[in-house]
Amino acid sequence: MKKHIITMLVSGTLIAATLESCKPHNASNAVAGNASIKAYVAPGKYDEVYNFVSGGFSGQMSVYGIPSGRLFRVIPVFSVDPEKGWGYSEETKPMLNTSHGFVPWDDLHHVQLSKTNGDADGRWVFGNANNTPRVARISLKTFKTEEIIELPNSAGNHSSPFLTENTEYVVAGTRFSVPPDDVNGDVPINTYKQNFKGYLSFISVGKEDGKLDIAFQLECPGVNFDLSRAGKGVSHGWFFFSCYNTEQANTLLEVNASQKDKDFIMAVNWKKAEEYIKAGKGRKVKAKYAHNTYNESTHSATSEIRNEVTVLNVKDFSDICYMMPCPKSPHGCDVDPSGEYIVGSGKLAALIPVFSFSKMQKAIEAKAFDGAYDGLPIIKYEAALYGEVKKPGLGPLHTEFDANGNAYTSFFVSSEVVKWNVKDLKVLDRVPTFYSVGHLCVVEGDSKHPTGKYLIAYNKITKDRYLPTGPELAQSAQLYDISGDKMEMILDFPTIGEPHYAQAVLAEKIQKNSQKIYRIEDNKHKYVTKGEQESKVVREGNIVHVYMTCVRSHFAPDNIEGVRMGDEVYFHITNLEQDWDVPHGFAVKGAVNAELLIMPGETTTLKWVPDRVGITPIYCTDFCSALHQEMQGYVRVSPQGSKVPLTWSLGTNLPKADEAAAK
């Protein structure tokens, strides 16, 4: 009996071991051979490509170099950043104002570089706020957020900020449909079908100054708008939006919004909509939304609340919107460089439908419709379909393109990037990602002329890719060389926040325009101090304005007396430096807001309300020079009603104030 047991145990172990060795191994999860040399950028050398990466729930946008994967800068956009004083300085507070008041954070999902003739022109980059619906415009001269506009009638600005081929419009489609702002929204949630609407905003962009303005909104059926892309070339004048939850469920969407075999890609003829708006067909609707702009010469932002928006109800017009059936809750909806092919990616699909713009036009002409969805014509699936990519993988999400007629699609469920040919729809290659790729980007891969040599995959799961840092991990990105027939992984690098979409552009388009300093002559800040001799302290009731300068290695003034409890002190600091890379910092002990970082030629203001009597130190936080540690000063705070006169000085050790008081 015992013998039998032993025999069974031994043979059992043997079988287990044999089976284990039979388990197929995954494709290599490391860089093969010496491929990593391709990602090596020697110290002192520049990267070929700028990569603008959304920060997801960090609310910011980060800038990486490709192929090195080096992080250059995190641009504060929708979230406060005490490091840079963003949202804390008096000048930047208005940038984060909304109709809800000051919102200190958001969820930035997608980025878009401004375009001219369908190619990146290196002027601006746009980002969307997914939570409190907004769109931001960032200057690529200063890498600073210059403008933020809020979107009324929206909830969850997801299919945004995609733009037309000459940056005529940035669009913002609402993810959540909700009752519009001008009607009573106090309705039962299960009246979704009657009361909830989906709004698409078309934001015009000033040709020269980039100024944003909501040109019009399209009122559409209540569904979830997910992603969008503008047509280009032949399809310029059209916009394509992926829609899910066409079941119009208001609860347990996971199940209830996955019932239909096909949802839609909505094709919008925005040129037509523009015509109707011009003809006065839109209706003015009451709304409340913030429009915030940062002025580069005053170094200050202003926030304005607007009260009206023009709306066009697409149901009233038969030639603006058409629905193209697309399998399984489409997510990505991407247009190839020619503008002829539109790629739909059903999150749960096992194939990729590719629609043809010219077939779609013919179908519309021939009225090859299959009924209507909430009043909008549904084009017959086959009538607009160019073909399907068969068995590409599971869970396609996003597609970008190279210059050779190939497409690259990310697959979340099967965790891979698949390369396929747009013309013959044949799968050419596949590489694993680590793990569960979301968005991907090819250098200028959404433009008319992709310059794709690199592809970057942004993953949702990181797990064992780096040294562990407790339960909370960085996100992972992988870089692939796509210049050959086979994609080759050459680098793996961590990213900030949670990257969703990102865009990459040849460095030469941006590098040369990057600003080095702000010219002090051009500084029109209300409280600028253009020289130490102009520095002063001015009391207006209980408001104290400190006109302070900084230069290596002192503040002027650096001794201030006569501040009293109950005062509100505004330190207006002007950095007098006119040399590249000499910022100064400014910090006050016990300040409840943040520090300031002041660039050469810039003026920035920190508000400080003293909370105790005594001496409060101030100092420079940015190691500016060999004598940075000497760059400090003191503010004397006296009790309310104190007779200590208001004095300020630099380089005078005599206690003038006490002398004055003794007299």
């Binding site: 290596r552 430096e577 040399d579 060999a626 004598l627 000497e630």
Partner: protein, 202 residues
């Protein structure tokens, strides 16, 4: 006897050749042009300034990164540089234009004596100008504020008159700028003309 003969020959042949006149006109043109471009430059390199800092000296002003250099020089207590502090900048332009005019007149009158006088005066001016430049450099490099943040005993910060010198973390490279090279070329033109005239006449 020989001396007398030579003198006679000189007087007789006291006419400039066509070539010499062309050279004089060229030298005059170079001088006029040099007024509009920097004459001298002091290039400063430091680890923190890979792009370099450039002090440009024009006939009538200081240019280039003067403000940045002034900002840095306060650490060692050097006086700040300002165009108005140099009387030279208000007269230099006239001296140069005077030489340009002198060269033209010499070409028109075609007198050899004038040419020799021009060359002599021009070389003398060049030497005096360089001595003056040296004096300023010495003054700025040695007359330092005793309360400066950085004081190294025995250390002076006089830039080189011409060539390279290491001053703390800065390497200073002092050379003629485009206007200076024109100035030198102008002198060479005069010299070639003078040598040719002298040779032909002997």
């Amino acid at each position: 006897m020989t001396a007398l003969f030579l003198l006679k020959k000189l007087i007789m042949k006291n006419k400039l050749s066509g070539w010499s006149k062309v050279l004089l006109i060229l030298s005059s043109a170079l001088l006029v042009y040099s007024v509009f471009v920097p004459i001298w430059q002091i290039e400063l390199d430091a680890p923190q300034y890979p792009e370099g800092l450039n002090l440009k000296i024009y006939a009538d002003k200081l240019g280039g990164d003067v403000e940045i250099i002034n900002g840095l020089n306060h650490y060692i207590g050097m006086k700040t540089l300002h165009t108005v502090d140099f009387v030279e900048f208000s007269i230099l332009i006239y001296i140069i234009l005077f030489f340009a005019l002198f060269a033209i007149i010499t070409a028109i009158l075609g007198k050899k004596k004038l040419l020799y006088a021009l060359l002599f005066a021009f070389v003398l001016f060049g030497v005096v100008a360089m001595l003056d430049f040296y004096r300023w450099e010495y003054d700025y490099g040695h007359d330092l504020n005793p309360h400066a943040a950085i004081i190294l005993p025995g250390m002076a910060y006089q830039p080189p008159l011409i060539g390279f010198k290491q001053l703390l973390n800065f390497g200073a490279y002092s050379i003629p700028d485009i206007g200076g090279w024109m100035f030198i070329s102008s002198g060479i033109c005069m010299m070639i003309a003078a040598i040719k005239e002298f040779k032909f006449s002997s």
